[in-house]
């Protein structure tokens, strides 16, 4: 069929342009992170690692990273646990107003975050609760749970119900069945959910900005630093580190999922992963 069509392949041009638009800014991060100039602009002037040294020496940043990790890990764990319960209920049981309930749980996916953030802030003020990392966790659980449900419900729906019945039939208790059959089989979904919700919470800004007290999270810290042009290159360095970590995390998650799928003799691409 070669040569059957003349002229440029517009679809290919579009695809390449799309990829450039999507990833060129991301490539700029590591580029300027190692650039020996305070001003973020071309031409590049020389190679340096001093911005990373600056990061290492900034105490406030370390606090922000620690806060973010606490928030992200807590949010991921809570959202995944809630998500697993909801996904299992959705896959297994019929109950009144199921569709409505599910709809309300999934609503934060499409609700503007700023609305959620303001509403939460007003409510917390009314309740007289003081802002802390835990109020940020509460907000993040709210927005992370729909993602966890979306990921986990495909895992639970793909689970043959007769496997759980077979376990009961062989004398195992309900809890034992969950531990020995259900959990190992939905584990890839659980890991995916943990990683996705962790990532969402880690880089979430609006809710964290509204609900945080004196302890800021990393995105809020980065935002506060952007006011000082001299801090920009070190923020670029921070961005480069976060980028590398994200890629590592995603590769790790996908590797874990494929290994689990291969062990069960399933086609890894059919098992419902993210990549």
């Amino acid at each position: 069929m070669a040569g059957a069509r003349r002229g440029p392949n517009w679809l290919l041009v579009y695809a390449v342009a799309y990829m450039v638009f999507l990833y060129a800014p991301v490539v700029l991060l590591p580029l300027f992170a190692f650039n020996d100039a305070t001003i973020v602009a071309f031409p590049l002037s020389g190679f340096t690692t001093k911005w990373f040294t600056v990061l290492w020496e900034t105490e406030a940043l370390h606090g922000a990273v620690r806060n973010s990790l606490i928030v992200a890990v807590s949010s991921a764990l809570i959202a995944t646990m809630l998500g697993a319960s909801a996904a299992r209920a959705m896959a297994r049981y019929r109950f009144p107003a199921k569709k409505g309930i599910v709809g309300f749980i999934m609503l934060p996916l499409v609700l503007p975050e700023i609305i959620v953030a303001v509403a939460l802030l007003v409510m917390l003020m009314q309740l007289g609760l003081s802002l802390s990392l835990w109020t940020v966790v509460a907000g993040h659980v709210l927005i992370c749970t729909p993602f966890a449900i979306a990921i986990l419900s495909s895992a639970f729906q793909g689970l043959d119900q007769s496997l759980e019945e077979a376990s009961l039939d062989l004398g195992e208790s309900r809890w034992g069945t969950f531990r020995r059959v259900t959990l190992p089989l939905v584990m890839p979904g659980v890991v995916s959910s943990l990683l996705i919700t962790f990532t969402i919470s880690l880089d979430e800004f609006i809710i964290a900005f509204f609900l945080t007290g004196t302890d800021v999270t990393l995105p809020v810290y980065i935002w506060s630093q952007l006011r000082f042009p001299s801090k920009l290159p070190s923020i670029m360095a921070l961005g480069a580190i976060l980028l590398a970590l994200s890629v590592l995390l995603l590769v790790l998650a996908e590797w874990f999922r494929r290994r689990a799928a291969a062990r069960q003799g399933k086609d890894a691409t059919a098992a419902g992963g993210l990549l």
């Binding site: 043959d160 007769s162 077979a166 009961l168 062989l170 004398g171 195992e172 062990r263 069960q264």
Partner: protein
């Protein structure tokens, strides 16, 4: 058989919302028997099996297993084990992990479990397969693992939910024979759910034919085939020719009936089903192999009728003829064993049809 009852079902019913899945099921299943629940899809046979296993709670009536009422007793505390239609092999465990799954809860040592697992695998001809992964097994092997996993628990009753329906024809036929032989050698009660009447006939000691949530007839395979009680049972089990008929008279020896298509006959008393009111006879049934085409002049039968071949289907060992009986709308199917030197009768051929009164089944 005088074996004691192992399962007693008393006036059992089940509704799902407005749908009545089972109505007034009464049955006693004996120890060591191979019992089949046979019926079309949606007749409630699987629901009944799942109720015995403890996956569904009855809406009414009771289940007694081995003398103990099962009300409120969950599946994990019942002396039954199930082979699922999908086999439900745990995909994340090896063959040995699957078979030994239920033993982990019993207080056995590692070595004892390994020995039990190996013994169970041997029973199903899978000795040495313990370390295989679940996904490396063929359909037939999965079925065997599912069976070994149930047998290793030493259940009082093994429940089989269409265990052979996923296998191809040849393997299915082989497994039917093997499963029956295994059941006989173990002496454990098996309850099989199937929609395949041939499978039920081959494997069972007794069969309960179910329609619309009720047991239509419960009998041995031979009795079920020879004397089906209703037209519906008759047409579900094998092929049956139905012809209109009326009672002409009654005598101590039997019932005199008139079958317009074939002639009249006296049906012996022992062929008249209990509870059938002779004056309400509306039709008779006769199996294709109970009718004969008399190819040779010299051949003769107890009774004869005239007919014309409408169509034939050649099966190699057998030929099935559709024959229109003289002066009748009615067609009958006749199966004839193909013998050396006899060619298949073409459509249009006029033939003599032989039949006997003792092969006639009466229906109201």
């Amino acid at each position: 058989m005088t074996a004691r009852p192992i399962i007693e079902l008393r006036n059992l019913s089940k509704s799902f919302g407005a749908v009545q899945a089972l109505r007034g099921i009464d049955a006693t299943i004996r120890e060591g028997e191979f019992f089949s629940l046979l019926g079309p899809s949606g007749c409630g046979k699987t629901t009944l099996l799942r109720m015995i296993a403890g996956f569904e709670a009855p809406s009414g009536g009771s289940i007694v297993i081995d003398g103990k009422p099962m009300d409120g007793i969950p599946a994990n505390h019942r002396p039954t084990n199930m082979v699922f239609q999908s086999y439900a092999i745990f995909p994340h465990l090896s063959v040995a992990g699957n078979v030994g799954y239920g033993l982990k809860r019993k207080k056995l040592s590692r070595a004892e479990i390994a020995a039990e697992v190996e013994a169970a695998l041997e029973k199903v001809d899978l000795a040495g397969y313990g370390s295989r992964a679940a996904h490396e097994l063929s359909g037939g092997q999965r079925q065997r693992v599912a069976l070994a996993r149930a047998l290793v628990m030493r259940p009082k009753v093994v429940l089989l939910d269409e265990p052979l329906s996923a296998l191809d024809k040849k393997l299915r036929e082989q497994m039917q024979v093997e499963l029956r032989a295994l059941q006989q050698s173990l002496g454990i009660t098996f309850i099989l759910v199937t929609h395949d009447q041939e499978e039920a006939l081959i494997m069972s000691d007794r069969i309960a034919v179910m329609f619309d949530g009720q047991i239509a007839q419960m009998a041995s395979p031979e009795e079920l085939y020879r004397t089906p009680r209703t037209r519906r049972v008759a047409s579900f089990i094998g092929v049956m020719n139905f012809l209109p008929a009326r009672m002409k008279g009654e005598s101590p020896e039997g019932i005199e009936i008139d079958i317009p298509a074939l002639g009249s006959a006296r049906i012996p008393r022992d062929r008249v089903p209990e509870g059938l009111r002779p004056e309400r006879i509306e039709s008779i049934g006769i199996r294709p192999e109970m009718l004969t085409i008399l190819f040779d002049e010299a051949n003769s039968a107890e009774r004869e009728a005239e007919g014309q071949v409408v169509a034939n289907s050649y099966y190699g060992d057998m030929t099935y003829y559709d024959v229109r009986l003289a002066g009748q709308e009615a067609q009958v199917t006749i199966s004839m064993r193909n013998t050396a030197g006899r060619s298949v009768a073409r459509p249009g051929t006029t033939v003599r049809v032989g039949w006997g009164a003792e092969s006639v089944v009466l229906f109201d």
